[in-house]
Symmetry: C2
Subunit: 247 residues, 2 copies
């Protein structure tokens, strides 16, 4: 694969609890960091409600638009867990009770009514591969769509299990230069530098610390030696603008 080819991913965060503000999502940052190590860039994330039409539409739009789609949430045993149903509908295939998951679930005995609810978690779309996790029922993969739990610890285990099946390009590396300097002080030379290096993503992020304003400049690209050279240029640029490096 040529080094400048981007392998893209979209994260679909499914759940009313995130949209209502009740629960703070922490899965996106974890997924982005892990995928990046595999050379896969998260190019979009969406938080969508537990509503069939919206989930199906988002899956179908995003699986066309991105190399990979990762969903989190909605794969438990209750009525609001409809992600498996939606993935099946998006791909136009039926759900079936996966025998391996069924065996796993039946290992722990329960009254029939509770077992019936648990077995909802054994339902996967026809043609799905399982994404195993040591702590319970697995997630699954259909083509380029990976379906994972919403609970961060479980999601992380599923993602780890999914990684070997992913094919990325060169991982994006970053260099950060932090200084007490305002964004305006460095804006012009920074913009000129970015224009000369279109294949590198240079970001500028202001902060205030101990009552002083500062800026973190972050360069992201795939060539480590180029990033090292750019990092030196960024430090010179800041010093020339009258800024004070923090390290």
């Amino acid at each position: 694969m040529p080094p400048d080819r981007i392998v893209s991913a979209c994260v679909l965060i499914i759940g009313n609890e995130i949209l209502s503000g009740r629960t703070q999502d922490v899965n996106l940052a974890h997924i982005a960091n892990e995928l990046n190590e595999q050379g896969i860039q998260v190019r979009e994330a969406r938080v969508i409600p537990d509503a069939e039409d919206e989930i199906v539409a988002a899956i179908n739009e995003c699986r066309q638009k991105f190399d990979y789609v990762f969903t989190t949430g909605g794969i438990g045993p209750t009525h609001d867990d409809i992600t498996a149903d939606c993935v099946a509908k998006a791909f136009g295939v039926p759900l079936y009770i996966h025998p391996e998951i069924e065996s796993l679930i039946r290992e722990r005995e329960a009254p029939p009514e509770i077992m019936a609810s648990r077995l909802r978690m054994a339902r996967v779309p026809e043609g799905a591969e399982l994404v195993r996790n040591p702590s319970g029922p697995p997630g699954f993969q259909v083509e380029n769509v990976y379906v994972m739990a919403g609970i961060p610890r479980v999601m992380q285990q599923m993602l780890e299990a999914a990684l070997p099946s992913l094919r990325g390009a060169a991982p994006v590396r970053s260099r950060t230069v932090t200084a007490f300097v305002t964004e305006s002080q460095v804006a012009k030379p920074l913009s000129e530098l970015q224009d000369r290096l279109p294949h590198i993503d240079i970001g500028s992020y202001p902060f205030s610390r101990d009552g002083r304003f500062g800026t973190s400049l972050v360069a992201r690209g795939t060539d480590e030696s180029e990033l090292d050279a750019l990092s030196r240029q960024l430090r010179e640029l800041i010093t020339a603008a009258g800024g004070e490096l923090t390290d």
Copy 2:
């Protein structure tokens, strides 16, 4: 406005630093909670990169689809701050230097080059209303699109300034019942309860604490007395299922 009318919002989180996993977004939960108090429900959120085509497309899609759109990020003075340009392009209007913001920015003296960068923050689309904040250059509003900073403290001030201009429906209230009970134990009666109350959103969120599994049941709706009654039903349902209420 009839009480069952939903006023919807979409949050567009603009920034490579969120998508790369470098920065953890905390704005969505804050915006969702504040808007909810105004009777406005966040029905979708998207995290999108600092890329013109994608920002313009997302703004134009979402301002049609939702009553309100709130953007965060990309309104500083550097080359990667392109939100104002994108909003102008989405609405097909030019940017201009807003005299009031210009005066504010020129209050603090600076060399011409630095001033020129700062004045990028005075550019607003024609027809925009300002969304003031006490700590610096304002955000702005064009029709149903509100453009705010990405830095949480600044964003929060802008949102507070924007709230009086918003028109919501009845605020959604919630009741949470937490118990040591597995989701599977309550899944069936919970599903039956949800079927009987389609206008209330009943969510089920598992957790593990001190090595024990538990579930939080969250009921969301606009009628407080109905929610109180439902809360009692949820407690009875859990006890009947053999669960142990935590409060």
